[in-house]
């Protein structure tokens, strides 16, 4: 054996090797990219606030509000989470292989991707394609037009019919395929607007809730003792006050806006998730691999980040997948009750408008409720599937 001839080969001096750029950075490249993205967004927000209060930010091209900036910042977080997928084809293949076997999850994923596209680029796509364009209509968008393939009897609520009347019945036109509301908005535009609200609410809230809950939960479980007691008592305290109540209070006191909803939910709705994370993490902090990491000389912060957090990811995914559809529903509920900014056309407020003329203008309620239900269902299904997909133990290679 080689050992006998050349014993020095078996005895390594531990030579650190050539440390590339990636090894020398204090933070991972994806974290650096995230920080850069945030800085750019913050700079643009400040520019918009102070330099061009009325105009557009150069290169940005669209009118933006605080919620848009928060949304893009959250998208950057999603990118940060997905970055390892882009870098590692083996991971990509593994997750795809497991996801492929779950048709319901695939359909949900496709639907949510479509929703995300609608939320982010929907407005621009509609105007590019000229769908529901009011440019060549003299009086703007006509109110209360039925969907293209149906008709509705003329009545005082329907003052004008865009197509020529068929007896007493006003048929729909393909100019407004899903009809229009009583106050003159195309349903397709409202669906896209609602998608934007739903996606922004769920994504921004998740981007605030997940880090907070994971941090509080794992720190409480890892350090235990007094830190655990203080953090968990605070969580108990927070549970006493439902986030919905805080939202209503703040909306009425300060301003009604999507930003308020998102921020309040982000700051006050992480308690349940934190508790779940803590109990999941508590069973891991005494595991052999944690003690082994300590023996290897890892710091507590590194152990929490590299061993505790990855091992509670299934709990986090499950808890968030459970929470996001609820949030979408709660936001719709708040909007339905009229406690939100009327300019943010959530599916909830569209349904409320629809019910004012129900069942005559049934399509308003139907085409707002269908995407709402689909979104909630798709988020739940995909969340459940992701928990299994992310768990390496569900598959054994031969």
């Amino acid at each position: 054996m080689s050992r006998a001839h050349d014993s020095s080969d078996d005895r390594f001096a531990v030579d650190p090797g050539d440390r590339g750029v990636a090894d020398r950075l204090a933070v991972a490249p994806r974290t650096l990219a995230l920080l850069v993205a945030w800085t750019v967004l913050a700079a643009a927000a400040l520019w918009e606030a102070f330099v061009t209060p009325t105009g557009l930010v150069p290169f940005w091209g669209v009118t933006t509000g605080i919620i848009e900036y928060l949304y893009y910042a959250s998208l950057a977080v999603v990118g940060w989470v997905l970055a390892p997928l882009a870098r590692r084809p083996d991971l990509r293949r593994r997750y795809w292989r497991r996801l492929r076997r779950r048709p319901a999850a695939l359909v949900s994923a496709a639907y949510l991707l479509l929703l995300w596209y609608a939320a982010t680029f929907g407005e621009r796509t509609l105007s590019l394609l000229g769908i529901e364009s009011a440019d060549d209509l003299r009086y703007g968008v006509p109110a209360a037009q039925p969907p293209a393939w149906t008709g509705v009897e003329m009545s005082p609520t329907i003052p004008y019919c865009q197509a020529s009347l068929d007896g007493d019945v006003c048929p729909g036109t393909w100019h407004f395929p899903l009809g229009t509301t009583v106050d003159g908005h195309g349903m397709i535009h409202l669906i896209v607007e609602g998608a934007r609200v739903a996606v922004q609410v769920s994504l921004v809230t998740a981007a605030l809730v997940v880090p907070t809950a994971v941090f509080v939960g794992t720190v409480a479980a890892y350090y235990g003792g007094r830190i655990d007691a203080v953090l968990m008592r605070y969580v108990d305290l927070q549970r006493v006050v439902p986030a919905v109540f805080v939202v209503l209070l703040v909306q009425e006191t300060f301003s009604r806006s999507l930003v308020t909803i998102v921020v309040v939910f982000g700051l006050f709705d992480w308690d349940g998730t934190a508790r779940l994370v803590r109990s999941a993490a508590a069973s891991r902090v005494d595991a052999g691999y944690v003690r082994a990491a300590r023996d290897a000389g890892m710091s507590d912060a590194q152990i929490v980040r590299r061993h505790v957090v990855p091992n509670v990811s299934d709990t986090v995914v499950a808890a968030v997948a459970n929470r996001m559809p609820t949030l979408v529903l709660v936001e719709a509920g708040i909007a339905y009750l009229g406690f939100t900014n009327p300019l943010a056309r959530s599916w909830g407020s569209t349904i409320a408008i629809g019910f004012s003329q129900f069942p005559e203008l049934w399509w308003t309620v139907a085409f707002a409720a269908i995407p709402l239900v689909c979104t909630v269902a798709a988020m739940s299904v995909l969340g459940d599937a992701l928990r299994d997909v992310l768990d390496p133990r569900t598959e054994v290679r031969r």
């Binding site: 691999y289 082994a292 290897a296 390496p392």
Partner: protein
């Protein structure tokens, strides 16, 4: 012997120096020269009076109401290249010795000296210890992170020390081949590996930083017998190749016999016997060691069943027995001087005393068995239950009185009476373990 890159890495240099003789190493590794000079006189690891006491707190104010003496004054030394076996039952404190020795848990007393330098008090000693020692943890499954590939797990110590990614992968490939895995195993997750393979990953990880000293906590537990043998062969092989010192923790006497030069027997947080493996296990001086050694099954069906079998479990470390900690279970306990009792008979009296003290005498159960509530039949049942002797004289009278007290439920008085009437050196004082290569802590005169 003298590698050009060894001076770049103080740990490796010192490691090298331990293998070389002192003159040449002192010349080439300046930074550790004084440590090495010192160290050549001293064993690699010296543990002196190591203690780990856990506070027991209770009540609203979390006041300290007791102490769990998990490790209570353990001393031993491990020479360079030597393998010391630490044996004992579950609950005897073996794993706690390992973890306090490596300062994974802070000891509450005693000192650890590694390579001539004290560990603890200053941060430097602990870091040096971490750098040059490693531990193979007990359960091969739970000591690998299920979300981390085997390669990443094995490379973790390297990562902590700032070794570049590519270098880590190369190093792990070499280590994996060294421990009988292939480089392909690097990308496997723990659930895709067998128990033996996981154990090998744990060993590769322990070797990653080229340690001088490795602690193996039950390295063969939870493995098939054939795999156990493979792992033991691997460890012996690695010990030669890497010139390792080892602390080998096991409850399995046959494993320790096969793998270790010397052995220390741990009971209830104390070392009761130590010495060369063969001498201790073939000719045990302490009754506990005798019982452990006799408990090893022999393949010969005609062989006598072991006479010294142990019953019960290691006593609760929160409330260890007075005197010799083993006296409550000792088959050779020294009977009181004035009573005419054998060790077995005295053992029955001690069993009764211990159960009375713990409130575990099932009077109700006895009552249903004799279906009569009168004190006499109950007393007879109690005597039968514990197989109590009936000695003459004072001792006999005291025992009868104690049984009567026990029957009416006055346990405390019965315990006190037995304690006073049946004195023995084993109950009165904890024996000291002598000095020297071979020593044991027992009141029995050496044979």
């Amino acid at each position: 012997m003298n590698r050009p890159d060894s001076s770049a890495d103080p740990g490796a240099a010192a490691r090298e120096a331990t293998a070389a003789d002192s003159e040449s190493s002192a010349a080439d590794s300046g930074s550790t020269a004084d440590g090495v000079d010192d160290a050549d006189r001293e064993p690699l690891v010296v543990v002196d009076g190591l203690e780990k006491h856990y506070p027991v707190r209770s009540g609203v104010l979390r006041r300290r109401t007791g102490t769990v003496r998990a490790v209570d004054g353990v001393s031993f030394a491990i020479e360079r290249g030597e393998a010391l076996g630490l044996i004992g039952e579950s609950g005897s404190g073996k794993s706690t010795v390992a973890e306090t020795l490596l300062h994974l848990q802070e000891p509450t007393g005693g000192t650890v000296r590694f390579d001539g330098r004290p560990v603890g008090d200053g941060g430097d000693g602990v870091d040096d210890l971490r750098r040059r020692t490693a531990m193979v943890f007990q359960d091969p499954s739970s000591s690998l992170d299920p979300r981390t590939t085997a390669g990443e797990s094995a490379a973790e110590p390297l990562r902590v020390r700032g070794v570049a990614r590519r270098r880590r992968r190369e190093r792990v490939a070499t280590l994996f081949e060294r421990v009988g895995l292939t480089a392909d195993h690097r990308d496997r997750y723990p659930h895709e590996l067998s128990g033996g393979q996981k154990r090998r990953v744990g060993i590769a990880r322990a070797l990653a930083l080229d340690p001088a000293f490795v602690v193996l906590d039950e390295p063969t537990a939870a493995l098939d017998v054939s795999v156990q043998a493979e792992i033991l062969d691997l460890l012996a092989d690695l010990r030669d190749a890497f010139d390792l010192s080892m602390l080998f923790i096991s409850h399995d006497v046959s494993v320790v016999r096969r793998a270790c030069d010397r052995v220390a027997v741990l009971y209830a947080g104390e070392v009761v016997e130590t010495g060369p493996t063969g001498a201790v296990l073939d000719d045990p001086a302490h009754p506990y060691t005798r019982a452990l050694a006799a408990a090893v099954p022999t393949p010969d069906p005609r062989a006598d069943r072991p006479r010294h079998s142990l019953s019960g479990a290691v006593p609760d470390p929160a409330d260890p027995p007075d005197g010799c900690r083993f006296h409550t279970r000792c088959p050779e306990v020294i009977p009181p001087e004035d009573a005419d009792l054998t060790s077995a008979e005295y053992g029955a009296v001690i069993d009764l005393r211990v159960d009375l003290a713990d409130g575990e005498v099932g009077l109700d159960r006895l009552r249903t068995r004799v279906d009569g509530a009168d004190a006499d039949s109950l007393a007879r049942a109690l005597r039968a239950e514990y197989d109590l002797p009936d000695p003459d004289g004072d001792a006999g009278r005291a025992l009868s009185a104690a049984v009567d007290e026990a029957v009416v439920g006055d346990d405390a008085a019965a315990v006190r009476r037995i304690r006073e009437a049946f004195g023995s050196p084993c109950v009165r004082e904890n024996p000291e373990r002598g000095e020297g290569d071979r020593s044991s802590a027992c009141h029995l005169p050496p044979e």
